[in-house]
């Protein structure tokens, strides 16, 4: 029995899924617990590589927030292990966003790693998940309503126009199709986290409720274990009757509290998990401590959707961006900071006029930067404040100028009773800095489709030698 696992396979037929990382590429895989997991007879190694958490910038600009070196390192760790064990390797939401370019990037990386290590030839499957603006516009004009999620209004054509890139969120279907085609390694476009794990289990005939629920628990790796330690491997086992989840790091355990606590993580509500084709109902889940490091869960229910609606995520560019950073220590200025900011805004308006598309955002650390109007203590600012000034405009030149005025004019603000007349603020740098362009989430909606594969073309190729 492998040292890591407190229990043997708990049924004649079971499927073991190893998850080494909750966001592949974003922070490197920890090799120790991964090696222990690889010794625990996994039937597949699966990881999610994407998240909306990185903000709208990467999807809009079509880049990754994870550095290439870390993506390579994680893919190499997983690929070498999966090929050695001869089990499928499944990655979803490639490269933070799951856009087509990120899938193609990961496919190229897999080829490069396979060639570098002279791995015997294997089948590399992948699928895309972008939907073009033209396609979506056509569907909208033909009468399809793109319904808003989370209280958003239905999508209109103006918002669609303001969008740069859209991904559809896949379910288990393209993964199952690629496994059916014999793929040993799958690089997926944007996907529901739980589908990446559920696909191999559903394909092997395990109950969808347990398969999706296992995916929900496993997708963040060791976040479902305690004590807190991120990026460590966890192992899930699915049988016809239950799901068991085990921490692989010797210092961690899965407990009823850690697993039940994780079931509600990052979700508005702990009772439902939605994906293309349905949702699972978790209200009647039962959690038991199975052995010291393993929790057993029974009771999730799978509810198929009456109508297939696929989630869409879209990001659109607002403008180029510059950033300035200053500090304030004068108590009188701190007490009148809103007037100081209003002065600087006014000076920008005087210089640049309004209507040329520039905007200024002031984020005041030490007062209410993080919570804004929700900050209960915003009327009790600290003795010293940091102000980050962001200017956004259609061109870099205008963004730089707006940022320079909006930052420097804080220095010249005219307060009637100020004692310090040499300058209203302290400069960290007497300059403004170029930052990545500003984007926003334009689309968080759903679209009706007829076929769960219709937006997710699959491809199979060979890699290795």
């Amino acid at each position: 029995m492998p040292v890591s696992i407190q229990h043997r396979r708990s049924a004649e037929s079971s499927l073991r899924l190893l998850c080494p990382n909750g966001h592949l590429g974003f922070a490197p895989i920890k090799p120790g617990s991964f090696a222990i997991g690889c010794a625990a007879e996994p039937d597949a190694i699966c990881a999610d590589s994407g998240s909306c958490d990185v903000g709208p910038g990467p999807l809009g600009a079509d880049n990754s927030s994870s550095p290439r070196q870390w993506q390579m390192q994680d893919l190499e760790t997983m690929l070498l292990a999966a090929r050695r064990l001869a089990v499928p390797m499944i990655i979803g939401s490639a490269g933070d966003t799951g856009s087509n370019s990120r899938v193609d990037l990961f496919v190229a990386m897999i080829r490069e790693i396979a060639a570098k290590h002279r791995l015997p030839e294997f089948r590399l499957g992948y699928f895309h998940s972008e939907i073009t603006k033209e396609d979506l516009r056509r569907r909208m004009l033909a009468g399809d309503t793109v319904e808003g999620l989370d209280g958003r209004a239905p999508l209109d054509l103006v918002t669609l126009e303001a969008t740069d890139r859209i991904v559809a969120v896949a379910g288990v279907h393209p993964y199952i199709e690629l496994l059916d085609k014999g793929a040993d390694v799958i690089i997926g476009g944007r996907s529901s986290d739980c589908a990446i794990f559920a696909a191999p289990a559903i394909r092997r005939g395990f109950p969808p409720a347990l398969a999706y629920f296992a995916g929900k628990l496993l997708e963040c790796a060791s976040f479902c274990a305690e004590p807190y330690a991120a990026k460590e491997s966890v192992l899930g086992e699915i049988t016809m009757d239950d799901v068991k989840v085990t921490a692989m790091l010797p210092e961690q355990r899965c407990t009823i509290a850690s697993v039940a606590g994780h079931a509600m993580y990052e979700r508005a509500n702990p009772f439902h998990e939605h994906f293309l084709g349905g949702h699972i109902e978790m209200r009647d889940c039962r959690y038991e401590q199975y052995d010291e490091r393993t929790v057993r869960i029974t009771g999730p229910r799978y509810v198929p959707a009456g109508e297939l609606r696929v989630k869409l995520e879209g990001a659109g560019k607002i403008g180029e961006r510059y950033v300035g950073i200053v500090g304030v220590r004068d108590p009188y200025t701190i007490a009148h900071l809103e007037e100081v900011i209003a002065w600087a805004r006014g000076q920008a308006e005087e210089q640049l006029g309004s209507g040329s598309g520039w905007e200024l955002h002031y984020t005041v650390y030490g007062r209410d930067a993080i919570l804004g109007a929700m900050e209960p203590q915003r009327h009790k600012p600290a003795h010293e404040l940091g102000i980050v000034v962001q200017a956004i405009a259609p061109t870099r030149e205008l963004a730089e100028e707006a940022c320079m005025i909006g930052t420097r004019q804080l220095f010249y603000a005219r307060l009637p009773e100020v004692k310090g007349t040499a300058g209203g603020i302290a400069f960290l740098l007497d300059e403004v800095m170029p930052a990545s362009p500003a984007y926003r989430w334009t689309i968080n909606h759903t679209l009706r489709i007829d076929d769960p594969l219709e937006l997710f073309p699959t491809f199979v190729t060979e890699a290795g030698v």
Partner: protein, 107 residues
């Protein structure tokens, strides 16, 4: 009798994005007695949360007492999507700060 702060009583107090338009808050307790005491005290009720953050009730999209995890969980709609210009908490991971100091009466 002066109480203790929520940070002394709860095991986990966190906030995190739930999608791009919501931030969800989890307050998790190590034992049932603490969970019930906080629940019954009302210091984390919907209305108390609205008062603390100065928001209207309709900004709270979900409010759940989740027995299996000994957790009180609520979700607040953002005024603009995560990562929009001016948003300084893209992951929503520091909005729980004001909860830590909530005073919980002893009995």
């Amino acid at each position: 009798m002066p109480g203790r702060s929520l940070s002394e009583i709860a095991k986990t107090i966190r906030s995190k994005n739930a999608g791009v338009d919501h931030i969800t808050f989890d307050v998790i307790f190590a034992d049932r007695a603490a969970y019930e005491r906080v629940r019954e005290s009302g210091v984390l009720s919907r209305a108390a949360v609205c008062r603390l953050f100065g928001i209207d009730d309709d900004r709270i999209t979900d409010y759940v007492e989740f027995d299996p995890a000994l957790a009180i969980k609520f979700t607040i709609r953002r005024t603009r999507p995560s990562g929009s210009p001016g948003d300084a908490d893209i992951f929503g991971s520091q909005h729980h700060g004001p909860l830590l100091g909530i005073e919980v009466p002893d009995e």
